[in-house]
Amino acid sequence: MWRNPRIALVSLVFTLSLGFRVVNADVVAVVSSKSPITTLSKSQVIDIFLGKRTRLPDGSSAVPIDQVEGSAARDEFYGRFAAMSAAQLKAFWAKIIFTGRGQPPMAVPTSIEAKKLLLANPNAISYIDQSLVDSSLRVVLAP
């Protein structure tokens, strides 16, 4: 297929760099632009996702929307904002689940799904790739 090894190499490097860019893209915490919330601190956001905080600063109840285990956005979000690996996060939730104290937030498979739920519920908060943010969403926490 690749007659010219140089083109093949350039393509490969290009593809790899794209892949690299996607994996390391900035994940931001977002709410619907209809939400009154404008900004949240790192620990407020993390506490909401870890179930330690159930309300938004305006007193309304927070509805965190997670991404499923194994998704790049999830690993990036918890790695960057909570310094937790996938295993640490799993251990954290095992501690909550096996004491009957709660269940992890609802999880969706993609950022697109997360966006859909955010638009449907002004109390919802999620995290998505920055490149997917448009005027319907508001970034409340960026790296």
């Binding site: 499923v68 909570a82 295993a87 799993k90 251990a91 095992a94 096996f98 009957g100 269940q103 992890p104």
Partner: protein
């Protein structure tokens, strides 16, 4: 590894909230002890351990548990957890560890009724879920002070946020009957009132807890009653060491700091049993560093008994026949008091998160027993040396799904 496959399949099922959710956890482990005249166990409620019963024992740490949670309404939920592990009688018949109904009055206040755990120590509510902590097992010097894991009654949990601080207060009023190995009488705890307060600020967790209960263990009553025939001094000894509805008071202070790439954890505990179980003060400090999937750690733990001996009955003035009998009683009493743990352990180990939802841990413990104590060891055999040192090697695989 088939367990990983199961984990991977069920993980995605959390996307659709349903009324019921099933979770499971388990540990497969082997422990070797250098001391062959006594057994190392994870809890005083186990009958066999590593050392005397078996040189390498899978019975100390291995267990499997399953849990069904039901979310009946947004406020009302129920949980049943069943565990199969080495029971007091050496069998592995599964038992109901917890079964309770929870009502969530507000997002921050809930009440549970049924069989619950007591959040005395930082890891006491998940001490059987190895995946939730860095070590092979929580330091036994501290965690053996309160070996009862499940109690029946009611508890509440109230959480409040102040800025970046989360404060959770838990309280309970419970009771428990726990069967002991070797046909010894059950440990019966009544009017057990517990209060604990956990404060979390960013990577810092701080917990204080207090427990007050009445504990009855009648297994030594026959023996201690014999002291009554020796007049007021004998009666005083019997009263001091029996455990007939004796007040047990426990205080615990614990803290952990875990910013992600490393952690330090320390807990201090004091328990006073007012009986042959004595009085103990214990603490540990542990630190670890996460390098990719590896978490090497080191722990130092110390437990000291207020006393491991008693002068017993005064022999002078007793008729020779009675004096010999009294000396025998004194010796037996002191053997019982030697079982009050007094020891220190230095542990080094590592946790390896080698696959999704599965870890492998290896740990080496070097324990020095107090001069007059069996430490936390059980099944003491003739020829066992008080004050000896014990080396343990443990390897476990923990999983959750």
């Amino acid at each position: 590894m088939p367990l990983c496959a199961v984990g991977a399949e069920t993980a995605d099922s959390t996307t659709e909230p349903s009324i019921f959710s099933f979770s499971a956890f388990g540990t497969v482990g082997e422990v070797h002890s250098s001391e062959d005249k006594a057994d190392f166990t994870n809890s005083i409620f186990q009958t066999n351990g590593a050392g005397y019963s078996r040189s390498w024992s899978p019975e100390v740490d291995s267990l499997i548990g399953g849990q069904i949670s039901a979310r009946i309404t947004p406020e009302l939920s129920a949980v049943v957890q069943v565990i199969a592990e080495q029971n007091y009688d050496g069998t592995y018949t599964p038992h109901v560890e917890w079964a309770n109904i929870k009502y969530q009055f507000t997002p921050d206040l809930n009440v549970r009724i049924g069989r619950v755990e007591l959040p005395t120590f930082l890891f006491s509510d998940t001490r059987k879920v190895g995946y939730t902590y860095p070590w092979v097992r929580p330091p036994i010097e501290v965690y053996s002070l309160l070996p009862i894991t499940a109690s029946d009654g009611a508890d509440f949990s109230y959480r409040a946020n102040f800025g970046d601080v989360t404060n959770t207060t838990q309280g309970s009023d419970v009771q428990s009957d726990t069967q002991q190995p070797n046909n010894r009488a059950s440990a019966i705890a009544r009017d057990s009132v517990n209060i604990s307060n956990t404060t979390e600020y960013k990577s810092l967790t701080f917990r204080v807890s207090y427990q007050h209960a009445r504990l009855t263990i009648t297994s030594l009553d026959g023996f201690l009653d014999t002291f009554n025939m020796f007049g007021p001094q004998g009666v005083a000894i019997a009263d001091k060491y029996n455990s007939d509805s004796k007040i047990v008071v426990t205080e615990v202070i614990g803290a952990s700091y875990d910013p992600g790439h490393w952690f330090v954890i320390s807990e201090w505990a004091h328990a006073r049993f007012n009986s042959f179980l004595g009085e103990d003060t214990a603490w540990y400090a542990s630190g670890g560093y996460r390098v990719g999937k590896f978490t090497p750690y080191v722990t130092y733990a110390h437990e000291s008994a207020a006393s491991n001996s008693d002068p017993g009955l005064t022999l002078t003035g007793l008729p020779p026949a009675l004096a010999g009998f009294a000396a025998g009683l004194n010796a037996a009493l002191n053997t019982i008091l030697e079982a009050i743990p007094d020891q220190s352990t230095i542990s080094v180990g590592a946790r390896w998160d080698f696959a999704k939802n599965v870890d492998l841990k290896m740990q080496f413990d070097h324990t020095r027993l107090g001069a007059g104590s069996d430490g936390t060891l059980i099944n003491i055999q003739p020829g066992f040396q008080l004050g000896s040192t014990v080396n343990l090697f443990s390897a476990t695989i923990d999983f959750v799904f």
